[in-house]
Amino acid sequence: MTILAFTILIATGSFLAGLLGALTGLGGGVVVVPMLALLFGVDIRYAIGASLVSVIATSSGAAAAYVREGYSNIRIGMFLEVATTIGAIFGALIATHVPTAAISIIFGIVLLLSAYFSSRPHPPDLVNSSPDQLATVLKLNGSYPGPKGLTNYNVHNVPGGFSLMFTAGTLSGLLGIGSGALKVLAMDQAMRIPFKVSTTTSNFMIGVTAAASAGIYLSRGYIDPGIAMPVMLGVLAGSLLGARILVRAKTRWLRYIFSAVIIVLGFEMIYEGWKGTL
């Protein structure tokens, strides 16, 4: 295959990944690595480097739209970024010592887990709960535009959320994904932050987290412009289009299909890693 044909194919695949990721809210980054590694036979280290770059593009590209909705909480985001960025550096540093077969298996497990957790119903938003002392000191409590006007919320279990965020950062640095599912899980289920606030704040954090490991990947020579270019442009275009048509689209069936794709890719990554072919 010529480089031109290869570039066009990868750009098309990345465009679809970005589009579906934005429409379903599951994020396109998570399927980019399996797509490159399984479908196109790209070395998994190049695939991770390219995916990391595309994760930054979607996060930063969508930031303005999310802020306008008025849900994201900059203090929660910044406080938890301390954990995710340190985790991301840790993940990127150990990535060079972990065999690619093991990375493939861990990737598969994370895919399966994120499909499972994103299918679970999230707990009902906690309102009028008593404030947590640590959250008050850190000024994490906030308000968001709810169905009945501006709704106040309190943040709970700060240490638990903080440690989950470190794990999310490590996985992000190790696998080149945004770890959006785990970030939302930490905020939504552990810290009891309202779902909308969790998802939009998570989007902000994803870009900063990915940037923390991208520097290390770049200096290690894991970011190949020939692969990162079509992936970044494709995912970005797909996710921007997805965010535009999101309002009109019926996303329930798309979510089922995309979850099924993620599960298949998860098993495939585990299998290939086990066989040692990746």
Partner: protein
């Protein structure tokens, strides 16, 4: 207590637009590099299944800038990717300024920690 919340939002809106501008700028640079790269190398056979690690010219900021000035397609793409990586870093810098204006020194400190971690990744890890 209402005032800081509104200020937060204004800062965030400004930052959101700044980030989008950064991403579009990065994408344009990557696209320019892509044209140069594909015109010159598009007909060659693709081989990305073997990990070789990038050449030193594509691994550090000064080397990438030097290559881009010589109109190397790959270096221009890599320069665009560096702009992209810089966008979240810029957000953190501006957040620190925003918190300083609000005189929220606890968050100025937290933001500077995040910034230090990011700068370590981008610059400090080269030394290892």
């Amino acid at each position: 207590m209402n005032r800081p919340a509104i200020d937060d939002r204004r800062i965030e809106l400004l930052l959101g637009n700044l980030l989008r501008f950064g991403v579009l700028l990065a994408a344009s640079v990557v696209l320019c590099g892509a044209v140069v790269y594909l015109v010159r190398h598009g007909h060659e056979t693709a081989n990305f299944s073997e990990f070789r690690g990038e050449a030193a010219a594509l691994r550090s900021l000064p080397a990438v800038v030097a290559g881009a000035l010589h109109f190397h397609g790959k270096s221009i793409i890599q320069f665009g990717l560096l702009i992209l990586i810089a966008t979240p870093v810029a957000r953190v810098v501006f957040s620190a300024i925003g918190f300083a204006i609000e005189r929220d020194y606890l968050y100025v400190a937290l933001t500077l920690i995040v910034l230090a971690v990011l700068l370590y990744s981008l610059i400090g890890s080269d030394a290892t």
